[in-house]
């Protein structure tokens, strides 16, 4: 128990060293709290109609106003956090889990299997992901599954290419040769020497991808094959709100702000995390 406590303390000290990480950390913390306590925070049910007059302006009764069915926008945004974050996290995780090992392999084994992976990825990149989404939707119907499958398909190539490039440069460093000479096995070379030195760009890319995924979810839902109404995702809300842009701009502004803040928080935290995870950042540098 004491050990865990010390680890948390150490982690906390590391995070506070980077201003970016601290701000991002708090933003994500708030998001996580919202995700967990959403039903308690939201004053109304998400699909409860006529909670007040339709298109009422933001006021005490309805913090962010009501939409064309008279549903409370604030409640829908709070509950929508769950949907958007779930999609963001699941897609990014899956893309990392599939893309990173493939990229590692392609970069480390610069032979036929490596080029096979890279060429496959090139083909995948040629295929527009919106098309993929529509195809998947035609096959299995709409919903969250479509978003997840098509976005994972869209972002796996990003991670494969990123990792391949980074691994190619890390592999040439002399410490990899030194590890081989001191008897390290291939698997351990990849796990202990190459992967840790690829973490910085990987983390930055993953946080970027996560924010893109949240935006893309909005786009797919806009096309009508993603999250189905009345489930409140930020994308669906943006989509619905855009029809009333002139009369009730707050219908699209608030989901937009929610997306922007989430993306900002994740990016800040990712940037900060990259610095923290680099041992060179912690102490005073000595070069120059």
């Amino acid at each position: 128990m004491n050990k865990i406590g010390r680890k948390i303390k150490k982690g906390w000290r590391a995070i506070t060293r980077s201003k970016k990480a601290t701000i991002g950390f708090f933003m994500i913390l708030i998001l996580i709290l919202i995700v967990i306590f959403a039903p308690w925070i939201a004053p109304y049910e998400v699909d409860e109609m006529n909670t007040g007059p339709v298109f009422s302006k933001p006021a005490q009764q309805h913090l962010m106003g009501t939409d064309h069915y008279g549903r409370d926008v604030f409640s829908r945004i709070i509950m929508g956090t769950r949907v958007s974050m779930r999609i963001g996290v699941v897609v990014t995780l899956l893309a990392v889990l599939i893309g990173v090992p493939l990229g590692l392999l392609a970069g480390y084994r610069n032979d036929l299997s490596g080029s096979f992976i890279m060429r496959t990825v090139d083909v995948m990149l040629c295929f527009p992901w919106v098309m993929a989404a529509l195809c998947v939707a035609a096959l299995i119907g709409g919903g969250e599954k479509v978003i997840i499958i098509s976005l994972v398909f869209a972002y796996v190539p990003t991670f494969v290419r990123l990792m391949q490039g980074v691994v190619l440069s890390v592999r040439e460093q002399e410490f990899v040769g030194a590890a081989l000479v001191t008897g390290e096995k291939q698997i351990s070379i990849i796990g202990r020497y190459i992967l840790p030195n690829c973490m910085a760009p990987l983390i930055v890319e993953a946080t970027l991808v996560m924010s893109f995924v949240i935006l893309d979810e909005a786009a797919i839902s806009y096309l009508g094959v993603g999250v189905q109404p009345p489930t409140p995702s930020w994308g669906v809300m943006l989509n619905e709100g855009s029809q009333y842009m002139w009369n009730a701009p707050y219908l699209s502004i608030f989901p937009g702000i929610a997306i922007a803040l989430t993306v900002l928080g994740i990016n800040l935290f990712g940037d900060g995390l990259r610095d923290i995870l680099d041992p060179r950042y912690m102490g005073g540098l000595r070069e120059l």
Binding site: Q173, F175, G177, L180, G183, P196, N197, P279, L285, R286
Partner: protein, 327 residues
Amino acid sequence: MEELLRVEHLKVQFPVSESFSGKLFSLRKKYVKAVDDVSFTIHRGEVVALVGESGCGKSTIGKFLVSLVEQTSGAVYYRGEDMRQKGKMQSLRRNVQYIFQDPFSSLNPRMTVHTILSRPMQIFHLSKTDKEREEKIQKLLREVGLTPENALRFPHEFSGGQKQRISIARALSVEPELIIADEPTAALDISIQAQILKLLIQLKETLGLTMLFISHDLGVVEYISDRILVMYLGTIVETGPTGEVIKNPLHPYTKALLSAVPHNPLQEKNVEFRLTGDIPSTVNIPGGCRLHPRCPLATEACKTCDVKLEDVAPGRQAACIMVPKIR
């Protein structure tokens, strides 16, 4: 003296990666002949220097001996045992260790010194208990002139000289017999160079190591080595005891190398000898004697003759038709 390592007719070639059209139109694949028919022996307890300029194949030989590079042909005998069988070269790693040139990239920035030193011991099961391992790490650090407290720090917290000390400690952690030091001081400042060289010599004495020292700097080589192998474009052109080779170089290339090293202006130079032009690429190695396009002494015969390393004096060999042979 007991023979520790013998290399016979070693050849190492790398294919040149060509453009697509090049692959289409040329029938023969081009190769970089990094090492071309090299044979030498290292005896136990001796420091052999492999001297030459960049691209002469000296590092390739070193990397071959620790299986970082594969041979095209040739044989290696370690303690008289043929290493040609599959996997045998790899097993040499327990006995042969390598010190890299650049201390700034040869240590994993994500590992503490402690991990860097304890990994090899774990891999080769060199310590039975944790306590034994800790003691060994402390001993290693002290041996290379660092304090045991340094174990928990990361490589970037050290200066270049200290990093090189850590690299040396890592090489020693598996208790090797033969150390290959690939220009271990080239990336360091002059005042630090001498510190590291002294350390290597001292370790060699106390631990009874054998060393293959790779360098282009004859000043350093003179200080550290017992015997010299001079390489040019993948072949050995002269060998002999260090003192004699430096006092009286026989091969024109050795002469040029020696004369090119900046001398103390108060001392008299024993050779003044210049080559002309640059080192040719290892893809297009000149025929005949490899040095002939640059050698001021070259004759017509040098362009076509087949030069071999031949005995020219007791314990000395040279590959030049202009050097008189002993019969």
